[in-house]
Symmetry: C2
Subunit: 446 residues, 2 copies
């Protein structure tokens, strides 16, 4: 993309309404614009990152055999009356009536809808296990939306629902979700620590939240520092293997790691003193096993293969996709702007032309652009007639992890400059080597 | 995908509520499920096609330099009051109040939102031309929703908005949209004929609708049969070239082709008698130039480079993405089910194992599956323990364009059967040749 043809409204002023850095930088970098309280328009740069996050979620869910579909945003109130949640949900649920006076609502979550699709179409244990999910916009009418996309009212969420014959199978689905979520976050350059969470009114022991450590996190967290040493990495996972998934669950959750909601001071005291940590965390996902709660209320039963009927064991599993943009920026920025991890960057690298209009510089930039594009990479070429400082400022703010700087002086020596946004390290090298280096960096990253 | 692990609830009965074939087949093939009147859940097979259509739209828009972003579904009423459309829009607009009593609405279209983003961020002619678009769910509260996704209330739409300094530039944008739309439809296996449309209360000559000929179309259309001979094909288009885009516009729109709304019997009579056609058509898109209507009302002005200010010339351009699924099926089916064009098929081919559990047949199917997958193709392998008739019935209904049938008898002779869904033609050939043939068919189709 040539910047002169893109729509990247970078703000010069610091937006006053932004209390946290991710909100501020998303506004400044021209990623979002507030439409109304807690509701955002996703400008081209923001939308591009959002799509990348969506794709990573889809790819990791597919590996585990979870199946994508899509529910409507607007739902009839009737289904929620059946589950008993319509009256109880409170003011966070946005309600409306259509022209015929029928009660409707904007989906804040979708347990009812998925259970309804299941009960209408699945009747036998032979069709299990089954995990369906969607990535769809939700609405929760927060009293005081704030922190930009971190706590918006209209937000993009991945929500998945497993349907299993037995508790054991459902707990395997629970473990599968943990594995896929860990991998998803790692591909986004995040370390999200699974922490035992509060199951709330539903009860039960089976719920974990995934928290990214960040000073601006809304939750206080307590953990054994050893948990931050564990990574999923590239290990091969057989998602049909119960024992293997359970082992990963155990590996990631047996060390102490809890939010203030479930914190147990006595247990925490048993963690070796030099490994006890208190910090703040941003919740970016949650997994939940809730048994037959909804299946019984909504009649989601199957033939159990023994001549009887069984209500299916279910869980729900969510990732806050739009919120993740904020979390990534909270975890990865400096005082000049955003620093995108390679896995989610909106463009793979920037090209800065120090002397737009100079024949040689223009030709060298175009050639770099063409070479990178031919390799399937997407560069952002700042071809505006601006001074170098302004171009560097924009690149630093929008946070592309790599920048190639092209100027007449370097070209005389046959080199361009490759700069890491994260470290600030510069290196002079011939253009074709810069291209090869960037291609190397992104090998294996889609 | 192995069918035993997929969620494909094919219905045995013919759904009574469906009046047209696309609605019936989408329900029977397990692509959609009605959630409430005119509102559908997209089951996995339907969602997969929807994503493919979305991607084609994105790719073709990108080629013309149009830039993707995303607006929220819920919008504040204030902006619509500013444009004067809030009160006038009528009952099709779904309105609601949030918990603080603020008037909101579910976006039925987005001229106001895009103009607002533009005016807040663009101040100079130097930033033009600019075309922004989104693919987002809209809601229009039709009195009597019907025909499945063809006339639903919640629907997925691509809507684009161009911002230009002059009428001439805006008409070039209009032409660019015509070109991208023609290419988009052709990639989906559709012929959509641009027809002069009624501009309604806005006035002006610049609006065309794109109509797919089909018996179940809602509009009566009148055309010169020669228009059906024109194709965009693979021609190279320079989207910066005004003359070239204008020539394509002229080529596609100078022959007579109008809907009943703009039909002119006298003009039609001048078409050679043997080329006069009357038929029915499904509207799948519309392009519109409306000048400074919204930019003046909303104050979208720029420095004109001559010391003055100018309200920008705009147009809006839409493709009914979810409706296209219905249109494609209306245009491509037989009495056994859907016939997907290769460009949009949810799976590239089906694999039918005639004797599940037979070692040789199972191994041959698995090997076909692995070979196709390794080539980047996505087969659907019917590995269920069902009789052949049921498997063929499912494949015919869901409409994958190619099927490989594997059975012990053929394997003894070293062959499998490759069948075209469209023609019914069968061919026996060795498995590796079947794979090569399928790879050939999809070469150049993403």
């Amino acid at each position: 993309m040539r910047l002169s043809r893109y729509f990247l409204p970078v703000l010069k002023e610091t937006p006053r309404e932004a209390q946290i850095v991710s909100h501020r930088y998303m506004l400044q970098a021209g990623m979002i614009k507030q439409a109304s309280a807690g509701i955002y328009s996703w400008l081209p740069l923001g939308f591009k990152v959002l799509r990348k996050l969506e794709n990573i979620v889809h790819e990791e869910q597919a590996k585990a055999g979870h199946i994508a579909m899509l529910m409507p945003t607007l739902q009839s109130a009737d289904l929620w009356r059946e589950s008993g949640r319509y009256d109880g949900y409170g003011e966070e649920m946005l309600r409306m009536q259509d022209r015929h006076g029928r009660d409707m609502l904007f989906s804040p979550t979708a347990e009812e809808m998925f259970t309804d699709v299941f009960r209408a179409n699945v009747g036998s244990y032979k069709d299990l296990p089954l995990t369906l999910y969607q990535i769809q916009w939700k609405f929760r009418d927060e009293v005081r939306p704030r922190f930009g996309v971190m706590r918006g009212r209209e937000f993009l969420m991945k929500d998945g629902y497993n349907f299993d014959l037995t508790k054991e199978d459902a707990l395997h689905a629970y473990n599968r979700h943990l594995v896929t979520y860990l991998r998803t976050y790692e591909r986004m350059g995040l370390q999200a620590i699974p922490m035992r969470a509060d199951s709330g009114p539903i009860g039960g022991d089976y719920t974990h939240e995934f928290l990214v450590l960040a000073e601006t996190g809304e939750s206080e967290v307590f953990y054994d520092s050893a948990v931050t040493d564990i990574r999923m990495g590239e290990r091969d996972v057989d998602f049909d293997n119960h024992d293997q998934c359970q082992a990963i669950m155990d590996e990631f959750t047996s060390l102490y790691a809890r939010t203030d909601e479930t914190h147990d001071a006595d247990l925490f005291a048993k963690v070796p003193a030099d490994r006890q940590r208190t910090a703040r965390g941003i919740e970016v996902g949650q997994i939940f096993y809730f048994g037959t709660l909804y299946s019984e209320k909504l009649g989601a039963v199957v033939d159990d293969g023994k001549g009887g009927k069984a209500a299916v064991h279910m869980g729900s599993h969510g990732i806050g996709v739009s919120r993740l943009l904020g979390a990534i920026i909270e975890a990865s920025h400096d005082d000049k702007g955003i620093i995108w991890p390679e896995g989610v960057t909106p463009f793979h690298c920037g090209i800065v032309n120090l002397k737009q209009g100079d024949n040689e510089a223009d030709a060298a930039c175009q050639s770099l652009y063409d070479s990178l594009t031919a390799l399937g990479l997407e560069p952002l070429y700042d071809d505006r007639d601006e001074r170098a400082g302004a171009k560097f400022g924009t690149m630093d703010m929008i946070g592309l992890p790599w920048r190639v700087t092209v100027g007449p002086r370097g070209l005389k020596n046959g080199v361009v400059e490759l700069t890491s946004r994260r470290t600030g390290d510069n290196e002079e090298l011939p253009p074709e080597q810069a291209v090869a280096r960037i291609a190397d960096i992104y090998r294996g990253i889609s």
